[in-house]
C-alpha cells in the first residue's frame, strides 16, 4: 500500500472518531438550546396567561389546548416554575405525544392560580437524525477532498521522492554513472537525495577499486608464477634426481599452473564485468558450436563419452565473438569434466536456446550456488571452479538467461537468447 494512502486512511479513521465525538457534542448542544428555547417560550406563554387571568378576572378553572388554569382561592403559596416531561394527547395529531410541561402556582391579584402549560417537545430522535445526516454528508465531503488531496500530494509533493526511487532502482554498479539529483524544495527529500548520492558514489568507488585490485592481483600473479614454473622446469633438468624428488617437482608445478589458471579466469571475469568485451556482432552460433564440438570430440572420446547434437542451421545471436567462444567452450568443458566414463552429452541449439545436458552424478551441493565463484561440487583436481561463473557473467552482459536443471541422470544447462 502506498504511504500516502496509509496516511490518508489513518487520517480518515481519526476524523471518523472525531466526527463521532463531535456528533455527540453537537447533539447535546442542540438539545440544550432547544430545551432552553422551549422553556423560554413556555415562560412567555405564562406571562401571557397571567395577563389573561388579570383581564378576565378568572374564577373558574380554565382549560384549553395546552393550557390549564385552576384557581386556588386566596390562600396559598407561590411556587417556583417547574418544568417536566409528560405525555399529552395532541389535538391535531390525535395521539399521545411527548410534551414539555410547566407547573407553577402564581398569585394574580388576590387569587392564587395553579397554571399548567404544555408545549410539544422537539423530539431527540429528530435532532439526532438531523445531526447524523449533516455529519455523514460532511464526512463524505471530507473523504472526497482528502482523497483528491492525497492524489495531488503523491503526484506533486512526492514527485522528487519518486524520482529518487527510480534512480535507485535503475542504479547499477556496472554502469558507473553515479546518481545525480536536482534540488527539490523539500528538506527531507534533499537530505535523502544527498545521502543516496554520497552512498552510491562511495559504493561505486569501492567497487571500482575492488575490481581493479582483482584485475591487478590476478595479473601481477602471472609473472612470479611464471618464474616459479620456470625454476621448477630447470630443476627437473638437473641430473640424478630421485623419483620422489621428481614427483615433488611435478606436484609443485601442477599447483603453480592451477594458480595461474585461476588468476587468468578471475581476470577474465573482471574483464567481462568491466565491459572490456563490448564489440557486439552477429555470431553464427551453429558454426561455432559445430567447430567446438569437433575440437572436443577427441577429449570426449578419451572418456568414451557419446555426444549427440541437434543443431539448427544459421542460428545467429548478437554478442562478442570472444565471449561466445568462451561461453560454448566452458559449457562443453563442464559437460565433459563432470561426466562419467561412457556417459552422454546432448546438445540442442535452436533459434531461441542452447541447451547442453550431460550425464553425471547428482550434485552434493546446493544447485542454486552452481554459478557462484569457486563453488565446486567435486573437488576435481583440474577444475578451478570459475567456468560456470564466467558463463553466467557472459550471459549477463549479453542479456541471456541461464538456468540449470537436474533430472536424473542428466544435468542440463540452458541458455535462452
Amino acid at each position: 500500500m502506498k504511504l500516502i494512502f496509509k496516511i490518508t486512511l489513518l487520517y480518515l479513521l481519526i476524523s471518523l472518531v472525531v466526527f463521532l465525538i463531535g456528533g455527540i457534542i453537537t447533539h447535546q448542544i442542540i438539545m440544550r438550546e432547544v430545551i432552553y428555547e422551549e422553556q423560554r417560550f413556555l415562560r412567555e406563554r405564562l406571562d401571557f396567561a397571567i395577563r389573561m387571568i388579570e383581564r378576565r378576572k378568572l374564577h373558574k378553572p380554565f382549560e384549553r389546548d395546552k393550557i390549564k388554569i385552576i384557581p386556588l382561592g386566596t390562600r396559598g403559596e407561590e411556587t417556583e416554575i417547574a418544568f417536566s416531561d409528560t405525555v399529552v394527547m395532541h389535538s391535531t395529531l390525535q395521539r399521545m405525544e411527548p410534551h414539555n410541561k410547566l407547573d407553577v402556582v402564581k398569585k394574580v391579584g388576590q387569587q392564587y392560580y395553579k397554571i399548567t402549560l404544555y408545549d410539544l417537545i422537539v423530539e431527540e430522535d429528530d435532532i439526532a437524525e438531523g445531526v447524523n445526516e449533516a455529519l455523514v454528508k460532511v464526512y463524505l465531503l471530507l473523504l472526497v477532498v482528502v482523497l483528491i488531496l492525497s492524489w495531488v500530494a503523491s503526484a506533486f509533493l512526492l514527485k522528487p521522492f519518486n524520482i529518487t526511487l527510480d534512480h535507485i532502482k535503475n542504479f547499477s554498479l556496472r554502469k558507473n554513472n553515479p546518481i545525480k539529483y536536482k534540488k527539490s524544495n523539500t528538506k527531507e527529500f534533499d537530505k535523502l537525495n544527498k545521502f543516496v548520492e554520497e552512498m552510491t558514489e562511495k559504493i561505486q568507488t569501492d567497487y571500482q577499486s575492488l575490481k581493479e585490485f582483482t584485475e591487478n592481483a590476478s595479473h601481477e600473479m602471472q609473472t612470479p608464477l611464471s618464474i616459479a614454473n620456470g625454476k621448477l622446469e630447470l630443476l627437473m633438468e638437473s641430473d640424478n634426481l630421485t623419483d620422489e624428488q621428481v614427483a615433488l617437482i611435478v606436484s609443485a608445478q601442477g599447483s603453480v599452473q592451477r594458480l595461474s589458471r585461476m588468476g587468468k579466469a578471475l581476470s577474465l571475469l573482471t574483464k567481462i564485468e568491466n565491459k572490456e568485451f563490448e564489440s557486439t556482432e552477429e555470431i553464427n552460433l551453429s558454426e561455432l558450436l559445430l567447430k567446438l564440438l569437433f575440437d572436443f570430440k577427441e577429449l570426449a572420446d578419451l572418456k568414451s563419452i557419446k555426444i549427440e547434437s541437434e543443431i539448427q542451421e544459421h542460428v545467429k545471436v548478437n554478442m562478442d565473438s570472444t565471449l561466445a567462444a568462451i561461453m560454448v567452450t566452458n559449457l562443453l568443458q563442464n559437460a565433459i569434466r563432470h561426466n562419467y566414463e561412457e556417459g552422454r552429452i546432448h546438445v540442442v541449439l535452436t533459434h531461441t536456446r542452447l541447451s547442453i545436458s550431460n550425464t553425471g552424478g547428482a550434485l552434493k551441493s546446493d544447485p542454486g550456488s552452481l554459478f557462484e565463484r569457486f563453488k565446486k561440487d567435486n573437488q576435481s583436481k583440474e577444475s578451478v571452479g570459475l567456468g560456470l561463473s564466467i558463463v553466467k557473467k557472459i550471459c549477463e552482459v549479453s542479456s541471456f538467461d541461464i538456468s540449470y536443471q537436474y533430472q536424473e541422470p542428466d544435468h542440463t544447462i540452458e541458455v535462452i537468447f
Binding site: T223, I227, E233, L234, M236, V246, Q257, R261, L268, I336
Partner: protein
C-alpha cells in the same frame, strides 16, 4: 641461433637464458625499452622475445621499431597481459607468435624453433633425427624412409619431443602443447599416455628405435642416447 630477450623481470629472464643455453643458443638480455632499442640499433638477431609490459615503454613500440629496422628478425611476444587485443595487435604488427605467461620453457623452445624454421630454413621443411624425419610443411613423418601413418596429435607430439629432446617433458606441458586452451577440461593426463603409447608403437613397428622414455611420476623424455 642468436636471440634477444626483452624482459624486465630478472628472475624470469634468468630461467629462460639458462634453459636456452642448454640448446646452444646465444641469448642476450635487456630489461628496458631504451636498452632494447639500443641493442636493436646495433646488432642483428634471429629472434627477439618481447615482453609487452616494460617499465619505460610499450613493447608494441619495440615491435614497430624491429619491423622498420630489420624485418627479417622473428618476434615472439611474451606477455602476462592475456588480452586478446594485444595478441591480435601484436600479430598484426608482424610478430610471429604470441606466448602468454606463464608458459613452459619447453613450449617456448618449441615455438622459437618453429619461428626459426619458418624464417631461416627457407624451403627446407625437414627435421631429421637419426632414422626419423619430419616434414613440417606436409606434416609427414618417415622412419627409415617408410611413411608413418600418424594422427595430427601424434605428429605434433613427436615434433614437440624431438625439438625438446633430452629434456623431461611433463604430462602437463605436453597436454598444454597439444590442447592449448582446452587443457582445463581433462581430469587426468591419461590421453597423453594414450597418444604416447600409440606413437611409440607406430615408430617401433616401422623399425625405429624407441627413443621415448617414461620418467616415473613426471612425464616423458625423448632420449637420443638409447
Amino acid at each position: 641461433m642468436k636471440l634477444l630477450l626483452v624482459e624486465d623481470h630478472a628472475e624470469l629472464a634468468s630461467n629462460i637464458i639458462s634453459y636456452l643455453a642448454k640448446e646452444g643458443y646465444v641469448c642476450e638480455w635487456c630489461n628496458s625499452y631504451q636498452k632494447a632499442i639500443n641493442k636493436l640499433s646495433g646488432f642483428e638477431y634471429d629472434i627477439i622475445m618481447l615482453d609487452l609490459m616494460l617499465p619505460d615503454g610499450d613493447g608494441l613500440d619495440i615491435l614497430r621499431f624491429i619491423k622498420q629496422q630489420n624485418a627479417d628478425a622473428g618476434v615472439l611476444i611474451l606477455s602476462a597481459k592475456n588480452a586478446l587485443d594485444d595478441k591480435i595487435q601484436g600479430l598484426d604488427l608482424g610478430a610471429d607468435d604470441y606466448l602468454p605467461k606463464p608458459f613452459h620453457l619447453s613450449e617456448l623452445n618449441a615455438r622459437l624453433k618453429a619461428i626459426y624454421r619458418r624464417r631461416n630454413l627457407g624451403g627446407a621443411h625437414d627435421i631429421i633425427f637419426n632414422e626419423i624425419s619430419l616434414n613440417t610443411d606436409t606434416m609427414e613423418v618417415k622412419v627409415n624412409d617408410r611413411y608413418l601413418d600418424l594422427t595430427r596429435k601424434e605428429y605434433e607430439m613427436l615434433l614437440y619431443m624431438i625439438v625438446n629432446k633430452s629434456r623431461v617433458l611433463t604430462k602437463q606441458s605436453i597436454a598444454e602443447h597439444l590442447w592449448g586452451d582446452y587443457m582445463d577440461s581433462v581430469d587426468s593426463f591419461d590421453f597423453v599416455y594414450q597418444h604416447i603409447k600409440n606413437l611409440r608403437k607406430k615408430i617401433v613397428q616401422a623399425g625405429g628405435r624407441d627413443y621415448i622414455q617414461t620418467m616415473y611420476g613426471s612425464g616423458y623424455k625423448f632420449n637420443p642416447n638409447i
